[in-house]
Chain length 189, copies 2
């Protein structure tokens, strides 16, 4: 997706040889028009699939997921990294390790939001080691629902997440695939 | 906003005399079309104002804010409840107490996303005691920017937040204003 790659080149900040900061349009400041174009792209790429629900994780996955859900006319469910006080329901949980943060989070989703009839598109902002996306697939499978595919905004292809998920049989669609950071520039695949 | 009030009546769950759970369309599962209609309503109510930025707080404020930002063609910035690992910037911070969770969070925003020229619309999902919204106004004022108004999806008018913010001089626009919960029903103002 050229528009996204251009934006990463102009506004992304390379922090070290594996960390890219895109907080000016995705992770803290959000560009709603870009989010809509990303939503359209996900909807296009998965247009041959029957999708009943989008699943993401708070917080940076929410904006693109809601735009995708608007186009596909399906609800979005986001996993929480902390059990909310107002949840008295049964929940699905799984542990997700974040290499960036160096900590594990238990992510939770109320059981009532996933059913065996659901065909679920998983969406997330980044794919690096694949821990968050793999955690979301585990939750879908706990619900006996079907993972239709995994839509990723930015894939760091030099880290093993995309390969691991593809080898596990999931269809991964990443809109920007980064080969490396070299000389302060982002190299795309 | 009648569509929203109807949805609260049909899908909201009253947990006790002050807690309403709307996680089937706003707080965990999100209805993107309803979010878009809420965005349109906020854009309408503040149509006489010059707005350069929308400010919200993760996670439940993001979906409505992004829709409002899409219509108004302005960026959305969300405050984080935890400082992200990839933030090396100077940040504005303030402490926000959550009565629902019984804990305080330090919320942060990178300084680069607010400037003295900004006219900021603050958006949040719930207004009860007003701690989160007041925290966001403090951050806008630390940046010497202007708070144009505060857009709230659901106001619990029997709690003091709306009154306190109005008395402090802010324009508060709440799309559903709840007077009380009685006999298992939501009573609107």
């Amino acid at each position: 997706m050229d528009l996204l790659k251009q934006r990463i080149q102009t506004d992304g900040l390379i922090l070290n040889d594996s960390l890219l900061k895109v907080d000016s349009f995705l992770n803290q400041q959000i560009d709603p028009e870009l989010m809509m174009k990303i939503g359209e792209e996900f909807a296009n790429r998965f247009s041959n699939e029957k999708i009943t629900k989008i699943l993401t994780i708070e917080s940076s996955g929410i904006a693109v997921s809601v735009m995708t859900g608007l186009i596909l006319k399906v609800p979005v469910v986001f996993a929480r990294k902390k059990k909310p006080t107002t949840t008295t329901d049964d929940v699905y949980t799984t542990k997700v390790y974040s290499y960036t943060k160096g900590e594990s989070n238990i992510i939770t989703i109320s059981k009532k939001f996933l059913s065996p009839e659901d065909h679920v598109l998983i969406i997330d902002d980044f794919l690096a080691n694949g821990e968050a996306a793999a955690g979301l697939t585990k939750i879908v499978e706990q619900a006996n629902a079907k993972v239709v595919g995994i839509g990723i905004v930015i894939e760091k292809s030099f880290q093993p997440g995309a390969r691991k998920l593809t080898e596990a049989g999931y269809r991964v669609e990443s809109l920007a695939r980064i080969k490396a950071f070299s000389n302060g520039k982002v190299q795309f695949l």
